[in-house]
Structures are given as structure tokens and as C-alpha cells.
């Protein structure tokens, strides 16, 4: 009997250890995969760079050369033009094609003062060369009045390009590509979405929680409300996406928006977040000691005053927790947003147009013909770090709530 029991216990223990071991290994593998692929791409430039590279042709109506000193910090592999104050290097783009990359541009360089020369809305607008751009073709007149073309298209090296620049008499045209592959647009769209969703969902959610916890009598209507909130929080978000398109889209249409948009995404996310906010806020209202309500009422405060002066302030940490969890949820959401905000990565997101959040940008990057693992992994790391920070904050807050009420 005891022997049998010991074997039985042994098997169960082994299974437990094995399962937890597998879980840990899987977690470590996921993290390793993401970090190994994406860590090299993590830098601050990424946050400020657009995703799409731009094609620009500029001319220089008033062109004057100068005399510039090579800054000390430039590496040996960078060729520097003393007449134009520009540092160039040889590089490769995502498709392993040769590039002539602007590594450094002196603040006084004449190359800052160009105007757009391609036909279109931007024609005549001021546009300068910028660091990080790739010089595709550069047309200039040299000191012998001969037209010279250099740049990546001509397979010129950085060295050759600089040599041509230092022999310049007149600048004609520069055709360059601004650097892409960044996440600036998605970052902005994510922030817009967070802001707008919270502005919609927080007041409604908090008010609903106050109603449920403070005013509602325990009857069938409130019970039905509670059950539907429970139900809502278990619904897969793709269904919210469908609801957004079919139910909320007409609302944004009334506002004159006829495509997917950040507003539509925010409305949808607000619906997704409501159950979370209501439940979290209600929880935090519940733990406010009943004694405080009595104290307030016994001092001649009305119920409304009691709620707004005593209960809500005491519930504030809980509401903050709800807010942070909501932000986490928005950052992690993708299914509900693909339908409502579209999958086109917008570098300059607008509320009334479609855009991608960071998570949806990953979806877009991976669903194309050439999945971009590196950038996707980098974005994943950024998302993981943000979510980690949010979770730590939530832990800290709930720790402080517990401490607060256990003292009194």
C-alpha cells in the first residue's frame, strides 16, 4: 500500500516538474527568438524614423559652397566633403543593393537649402538633404563646366561622390531616398489610439462602476448588466472587430469618415475595454471600507458628495490600475484593429484615417510577400518592454493599495 502510494506520488511529482520545465523552456525560447532576431535593431532612431522611404528630387536656386572642417567623431570609413560639409559612407539597403548614405551633414551645409523640383503638390517647397538618406543620383557642374552624375545609381562609391563634390562649381539636382524602416507612424497611431480609447472608455466605465456599486439595487436589471459585462470580457476580440465594422462604422460615417480610421478603432477598443474598466473599478470601490461611507454621511454629506470626495479618491489607485491594464490591452490588440483601422502603415497617422498600431504593424510586415522578421522582432521587443513596464507599475500600485488598507 505505502509502496504503491509512493510510486503514485513519484509519477505525479515527475509530471509536475516536467510540465513546469516545458513551460519555462518554451518561454525562454520565445524570448530568445525575439531578442536574438530583433535586439540589433533596437535603437532610438527607429522610434523617430518613418516606415516608408521617400523619393525626393531637389534643386538649389541659390547655391554657394563653403569651407567646412571634418568633425573629429567621423569614422575612417566616412568620406567628407570640405566644400559641402557632408559625410558619406557606402551601405547596403534591405535588398542588398549599394547605397551612398548621408552619415553627417554640417548644420551650415548648403545642402539644407533645396526646393522640391518634382511635379506635384510639394513642387517648390523647401526640402533639404537629411542624415540617413541615400543619394541615388547627384547632378553637378564641375570646375571645367562639365556636367557630372554620381550616386548609387551610377555605382559611385562614397569616396568618388565626395571627390566630385569637392570639384563642384554649381549644384544641379539631387535625387535621394529618405530612410525608411522605422516605426514612428505606428508609435504615433498607438498613442492616438490609447488616448482616444481611454477618453471614451474611462468616464463611461467609471460611471457605470459607480452606478453598479453605489446606486443600483440588487434586482434583475443589474444582474443582467453584470452578467453581460462578464460575458463581454470573454468575447474574442475579432468579434469586436466585426462589430466595429458593422455597428460603429455607420457612426463614424455620420462624422464624415468613409474609410477605416483611428476613431473607429478607438470606438471599438472602448467597447473592448469597458468590461475591464468597469470590473476593475468596481473591485476597487468595493474594498473602500464601509466605515468611510458612514463617516461621511454622518457628517451631513450627501451620497453624491460621499462618492466624489471620499470613495472615488480612495478608489483612485484601482482606477489607475484599470487604466494601465487598458493601455496594455490596446498595445497588445490586433484582431479588433485590423478590420477597424486597416493594415496600411501610415507614417503620418490622422484620426480620421486608417493606420497601424505597433502590433498591427507586425501583422502587416509579416503578411507581405517578403516577411520582415528583423523589424517584426524589434517591434516585439519594444512591445514586450512597454507591457513589462506597465505590469510592474500595476504590481506596485496594488501592493500600495494593500498596504494602505491594512494600516487603517
Amino acid at each position: 500500500m505505502t509502496r504503491k502510494r509512493r510510486i503514485y506520488d513519484g509519477i505525479l511529482n515527475a509530471l509536475t516538474y516536467l510540465s513546469s520545465g516545458i513551460a519555462v523552456i518554451i518561454l525562454v525560447m520565445v524570448l530568445q527568438f525575439v531578442f536574438v532576431r530583433g535586439w540589433s535593431g533596437v535603437n532610438f532612431d527607429l522610434l523617430s524614423k518613418p516606415y516608408w522611404s521617400g523619393n525626393n528630387t531637389i534643386e538649389f536656386p541659390q547655391f554657394k559652397t563653403g569651407a567646412f572642417d571634418r568633425p573629429d567623431h567621423l569614422g575612417d570609413d566616412i568620406a567628407f566633403s570640405e566644400k559641402l560639409g557632408i559625410g558619406l559612407s557606402d551601405g547596403l539597403d534591405a535588398y542588398k543593393e549599394h547605397q551612398v548614405v548621408v552619415e553627417y551633414l554640417d548644420p551650415e551645409s548648403p545642402l539644407h537649402h533645396g526646393v522640391v523640383s518634382t511635379a506635384g503638390v510639394d513642387l517648390g517647397k523647401e526640402l533639404g538633404l537629411s542624415e540617413g538618406s541615400n543619394i541615388v543620383n547627384l547632378m553637378l557642374k564641375d570646375t571645367d563646366d562639365k556636367i557630372v552624375n554620381v550616386g548609387a545609381q551610377r555605382k559611385s562609391t562614397a569616396e568618388e561622390t565626395v571627390a566630385a563634390m569637392d570639384n563642384i562649381s554649381e549644384m544641379r539636382k539631387i535625387y535621394f531616398k529618405t530612410e525608411g524602416g522605422g516605426i514612428n507612424g505606428s508609435l504615433k497611431a498607438t498613442l492616438y489610439l490609447i488616448g482616444l480609447s481611454l477618453v471614451i472608455a474611462l468616464p463611461i466605465g467609471i460611471a457605470a462602476a459607480i452606478y453598479l456599486n453605489e446606486y443600483a439595487k440588487a434586482n434583475r436589471v443589474t444582474n443582467a448588466m453584470r452578467s453581460s459585462i462578464e460575458l463581454l470580457s470573454g468575447v474574442p476580440s475579432i468579434i469586436f472587430g466585426l462589430m466595429g465594422v458593422s455597428v460603429l462604422f455607420p457612426i463614424t460615417q455620420l462624422m464624415g469618415i468613409h474609410t477605416v480610421s483611428i476613431i473607429l478603432g478607438a470606438l471599438t477598443m472602448a467597447v473592448v475595454l469597458l468590461p475591464l474598466i468597469i470590473r476593475q473599478t468596481e473591485e476597487s470601490l468595493k474594498v473602500v471600507p464601509i466605515d468611510l461611507r458612514y463617516a461621511s454621511l454622518s457628517l451631513g454629506a450627501t451620497q453624491t458628495q460621499t462618492i466624489f470626495k471620499v470613495i472615488l479618491p480612495s478608489a483612485l489607485p484601482g482606477i489607475l490600475t484599470a487604466t494601465l491594464l487598458s493601455i496594455s490591452r490596446i498595445i497588445g490588440e490586433s484582431a479588433a484593429l485590423i478590420y477597424t483601422m486597416g493594415t496600411f502603415i501610415a507614417d503620418r497617422p490622422r484620426l480620421d484615417q486608417g493606420a497601424t498600431t505597433l502590433a498591427v504593424q507586425i501583422w502587416s510586415l509579416m503578411s507581405g510577400e517578403q516577411p520582415n522578421f528583423e523589424l517584426s522582432s524589434t517591434i516585439s521587443i519594444i512591445i514586450l518592454l512597454i507591457v513589462l513596464a506597465l505590469n510592474v507599475s500595476v504590481k506596485l500600485i496594488s501592493y500600495r493599495i494593500n498596504k494602505k488598507w491594512s494600516v487603517s
Binding site: P289, D291, A295, S296, L299, A301, K309, P313
Partner: protein, 250 residues
Amino acid sequence: MKTFEIKDLNLWYGDFHALKDIDMDIRNNKVSAFIGPSGCGKSTFLRVLNRMNDLIDGTKITGQVLFNGQEIYAPESDVVTLRTKVGMVFQKPNPFPMSVYDNVAYGLRVQGIKNKAVLNDTVEDSLKKAALWEEVKDRLSDNALQLSGGQQQRLCIARAIALSPEVILMDEPTSALDPIATGKIEELMESLKKDYTIAIVTLSMQQAARISDYTAFFLLGDLIEMGPTREVFHKPNDKRTEDYITGRFG
């Protein structure tokens, strides 16, 4: 002078008959103590006087409760005004998680009083009356939860006093405190008596004997007897009162 006159008072929690045919007068500027075994309805009766039972679902109340001759359960009676005149101190100290100052100023602020000078004066005055001023005058902006239990309870008394009530109701105000803090609060009650009418629920016979002018003995929702404290303790009219008091003492 009678602050409260209660006639034929009955109270039910749902089907449970918690107070039965109570008749009682509460005299002004005296301390009235309510004693009786646990569950006999002392707290319930106290809450009748500032209508805190209104907050409990399913309570039903009949009879008359006159405060300065006015029926407080009349439809036109304003419960918010009543509670500013009839303050309450609870069994467990329950300061708000705010500063000491804000705690005392709370009652005035919800009345809409914002004048800084008025608030400052009232806070100082109330804390002095509650014998707490010397201990907290340098910590007015500290969170009230940092005070000791006894200080918290005196803060709650100051908070009630700040509204200049006529009556202060106290439900076992010292049961969560040590003997020294209890002594301080008992002293305080003695000094408050000249300005306020006090009704106190207590489980301690000694406390009732020490501090009260009148004592009422409750049993299972009935008011058995009420009279001057000396008489109730030394020659009670009812056998049950005597049993309870001597049982406790013996």
C-alpha cells in the same frame, strides 16, 4: 429640557423585530448611556436618532421620534440637516485617508464653506475641544491614518464637533482602545457635556456608571428601564436590570 422624545418606536430589519415599543426621553446637556447584552438593539436605537438606519435596505420604522419637537422621520424633514445637528462617533475609529486638517474641515466643506479663516478657526477650535490640538498642531497636514488609534478616535470626535452639533452619538467609542486612551476619551466626554447632549452605547458597566447621568437598559429589543444612573445601578426597578448589572459586576 428634552432633546429627543421617542414614542412607540418599532423597528424591523426585514421580518426581524429589532426594537419594540420604545418610549424614551433624552435630556439635553446630559450623558445618556445605553447598556444591555450584545444584539439587544443598542446600536440600532442609536442609529435611529440620526437616521443612519435609512442606509440599510429593508428597515421599517414606526412611531414618533421628535428632535427639539420636530418629527425627524416626517417626509419634509431633511436628513442631511439632521445629521449636521446630530453627530456620530463610531466604534472603530474611521478617519478619512486625508490630512488631519481635511478630516476636521470635511463637514464644513460639504456644507459649501470655503472661507479659509473660518475653516482654520473651526479646525483649531474643534481639535482643542477634542483635547487633540497639542498633539497634532504641528502635524495638521499629515495623513490621519498615521495617528494612533486613540488619537484617531479623538480626531473623529473633533470632526463631529466641527459642525457644532447639538447631540453627539457614540457607539462603543472606546472598545477598540487601550485603558489610557479610554481614560482620555472619558475625560473628554465630561468636558463636552456642558456644550453637547451625549448618547453613548457601552458594554462596560463601569464606564456607564462613571460617565453617564442617565442609563437605559435594553434587552432583546425592549427598553426595560431608564432612569438616573445612580438609581438604575443601586435600586433598579426591574429584576432583569438587577440581574444584568450584578451578573456583570459579580
